[in-house]
Amino acid sequence: MRRLPPVGVLVSGDVWPVKSQLLFATYRDGVFRYLCRIVGQTDAPDLTQEVFLRVARSPVPQTTADGERAWVFRIARNLALNYRRDHGRQPDTVALIEASRPAAQETSVVMRQALDRLPPLDRDVFLLREVAGLTYAEIAASCEISHAAVRCRLHRARQHLRAHLQPLLNADDTAAREGP
């Protein structure tokens, strides 16, 4: 299982601007989680590093913290789009269910299949909101769409996922009520 390397591993050997290091420390987990859901956990660490290499090589825009986050995630999203374009659409069927955590991985498979059925932009908007925690304004800046389009696509994505994940949501709710 590959994990995102700690800050020191990535930064060692490179002379990074302090600002870039700060952005890395602040946003690496969110970027990693977002990329995991787009490209999978195998390639997400490499792609995360690529995101922050680009951050380090680019002049950080003079903007607010929200603007910085939107900028970092725009880079992440563009790299993820390139990745998907270069590697083609990944097959839906998954044969990597390990015995150790079958329930969680089954959930992962169902979730991924439902996400794959979404239009790419709707999926990105949903993941940027729910996984990366971006605000509507940040998502709008990252995806280069309007604020209203964010709301519309987010609502549509939720409706789609509700419809496709109904059994999963019901099971999760039941399990939560029954306790650990």
Binding site: Q90, R101, T107
Partner: protein
């Protein structure tokens, strides 16, 4: 590029259900519109299920996100054919050039002739005699 369409934007924002999304996402809400929409049973169900969806999405550890390892370099069929043709062409060109080099190279056996000292002819081991009319005929070609 920003897809800004003020008319479409205002139409979208006037949808009561977007108040629920705004509430879920910590965005500003219109209290009256929210109160109205929450009076609907479907809206309350949407709110609950959107929260469940969030819980499922966020609780998923990256380690549990299984994705089939896509081929590191997914070669499209056309590219595969081009690559195969390039390999064949390179092989043919290489073979041709190698053949050219082999033909042009000098023979590996060196022959040196020393004409300074004449060597005597070796002694015959045995002699064959031909007798005209018996085993030799001057008119025939046989």
């Amino acid at each position: 590029m920003t897809n800004n369409d003020p008319h479409a934007d205002s139409e979208i924002l006037s949808q009561p259900w977007h108040q629920l999304d705004a509430l879920l996402d910590g965005e500003p809400v219109d209290r009256e519109a929210l109160r109205t929409v929450l009076a609907e049973r479907d809206a309350r169900e949407y709110l609950v299920e959107a929260l469940l969806l969030r819980r499922v999405t966020q609780r998923l550890d990256p380690a549990d996100i299984v994705t089939p390892d896509a081929p590191r370099r997914a070669v499209r069929p056309l590219l595969r054919w081009i690559a195969a043709a390039a390999v064949v062409a390179a092989g043919a060109a290489g073979g041709y050039l190698y053949g050219q080099q082999v033909d042009a190279s000098p023979a590996s056996i060196e022959v040196s002739v020393d004409t300074g000292v004449p060597l005597p002819a070796p002694e015959p081991t045995h002699a064959i005699r031909f007798e005209p009319g018996v085993n030799w005929n001057s008119a025939g070609g046989d």
